[in-house]
Symmetry: C2
């Protein structure tokens, strides 16, 4: 089985690559080769036992997809996108990469011909929903994006449903919760604080909390996100029908509950590194974000999280990113 990962240099892409190389198989099928694409060449994994090709190409370039799908990958993980803030600030760039790029990809798949019909796993986002919405967003709530990024993800979901319905590919779009704890340095994403307030204190650093403790949000660990992708890449799609867009399971937690979990797992001294500095801009943005979901469809289709509580999310971070230790 040949696997193509688009957007492989990002955090989720790197973790997915690691997992697939470690497993050596996807579902019951051995992985025989992989191609990793991103706008900057992904790092070639050390000690891979199978051929791994890295490709640097611009996903917004109409010719970028053709050579990648010409190798007829059996499964394509499409994680390539520019993030919400960038798509909002750079309108044309957002549409070019997040919408046109996906269309180039699915049209390139279609152009291969000869019965080629790969599985396409597309990472959508809960940004397809914007306020007002129910306290818990169900599987049949409508697309109400309040960002260009969310609009582009919504549109790609619809395109992938239609191309699948027409038999041109075997698509599935999974809406990832906000990934927490996101490893790495604090970034400028408005959602960054959800991870910052856990990751930075555990590293002995101060973190700024710009919203109030009662802000509730929908989280999943990086480990869960990779698990969703793998399941989407292997699951039986016979029973799913034409609605290939699914909100993934997650964990609803308020910022206060996040902090309480951090105190339970790591102690008061760690929690004391969180500084409350309200930011009206971020408060405004976050007020339009989903807080909680009912994900019955995904659960029934076998998607599961790696965590049961926010304490687990913190423990997964300490285990996977910090080698089991933190700055007490």
């Amino acid at each position: 089985m040949h696997i193509l990962i688009l957007g492989a240099a990002g955090m989720v892409g790197r973790k997915l690559t690691e997992r697939l190389l470690r497993d050596g198989r996807l579902g019951k099928t051995d992985i025989t080769s992989m191609t990793l694409q991103d706008v900057v060449a992904p790092t070639k994994p050390a000690n891979a036992k199978i051929p791994v090709k890295v490709v640097a190409s611009d996903f917004a370039d109409s010719g970028a997809a053709a050579p990648l799908v010409a190798e007829r990958p059996d499964v394509i993980f499409h994680l390539a996108a520019i993030v919400s803030g960038e798509a909002e600030a750079e309108f044309d760039k957002g549409y070019r990469i997040n919408l046109d790029g996906t269309r180039y990809l699915i049209d390139a798949i279609r152009a291969v011909g000869g019965g080629y019909k790969p599985r396409l796993v597309f990472t959508s986002s809960i940004a397809v929903f914007g306020a007002p919405f129910p306290e818990k967003i169900g599987d049949e709530f409508f697309h109400t994006p309040l960002t260009s990024y969310g609009t582009q993800k919504s549109i790609c979901e619809l395109l992938i449903n239609d191309y699948t319905r027409k038999g041109l590919l075997e698509g599935i779009s999974i809406r990832l919760p906000t990934i927490c704890v996101r490893p790495g340095k604090p970034n400028k994403a408005a959602s960054g604080f959800f991870s910052n307030i856990i990751r930075e204190p555990l590293a002995g650093e101060e973190a700024v909390l710009p919203v109030s403790d009662d802000v509730k949000h929908w989280h999943a660990s990086p480990k869960s996100a990779v698990g969703f992708l793998v399941h989407a890449g292997t699951m039986d799609l016979q029973s799913i029908g034409p609605r290939r867009n699914l909100s993934m399971p997650g964990l609803a937690a308020t910022v206060g509950e996040q902090i309480a979990a951090l105190e339970r797992v790591a102690g008061k001294k760690v929690v004391a590194r969180i500084k409350r500095v309200p930011d009206p801009t971020i408060i405004g943005i976050v007020s339009g974000w989903p807080r909680d979901f009912v994900t019955d469809r995904a659960l029934k289709l076998g998607f599961t999280t790696a965590e049961k509580t926010f304490d687990d999310i913190i423990r997964i971070h300490i285990e996977d990113e910090l080698g089991g230790k933190f700055a007490a």
Copy 2:
């Protein structure tokens, strides 16, 4: 006020043109000129008291929109599309006209600059919904198209919402019910029979009914459709918020109720011209179509139908299309 109608040669476009020229105004503002565009030049209305320009251009041509919006029309009615059956049979053509065409249009509007921000009234469709769905589809039910046409309409709704949110235009997408009674000759559209079984018998002709009497569907008269467009072109959009896509009011009726209404309005002899010839293909297609709606949002925003019963729909047809007479 300058008005541009895209797709003006179609049935709804012609009726909208007639209505606007008759009214001489849109809301409280005098119409000073109109441009009518379609892929074949629309017929120039006789006796128009204002300048009316007709333009033949291909909406799928990336350069077609620019000269039309360069005149800075205050209101644009965007009715241009290829129909469901054609978009399904000709995949590329459907996406080119129904999706790319709309994108060319909104990008051309954006490119005008200088604060130009026209009202854009887009005719969407109940084809954005496909089975399974609730018996009555509410305002928050999600996009579940089962055709490429419905997918393209859904995507255009999302694009117009996003461009509106970004302040690039003032968009509103209205999902028209199936128009009944559609004047003209029987066509090959799968939905054609809903109109055929009324129009043809009233004209003294036989009509084929390919489905059973208990098939329920969602209808509005051509007069109502034009009324929706006019209201969308004039209504206050301050209160509507970022969700600019609205299911229009209509009338749910079974085929049996349609026929009973025809008998009440026109008599048994007319009804006897309906021949029941079940067609498994059409039965299959129609089973995936919406049957009934709750359109509270549109009603609250002032959209109203011209008919209260299916009898009214038939009477409107006899009045507007047959000069008040039918073949008894």
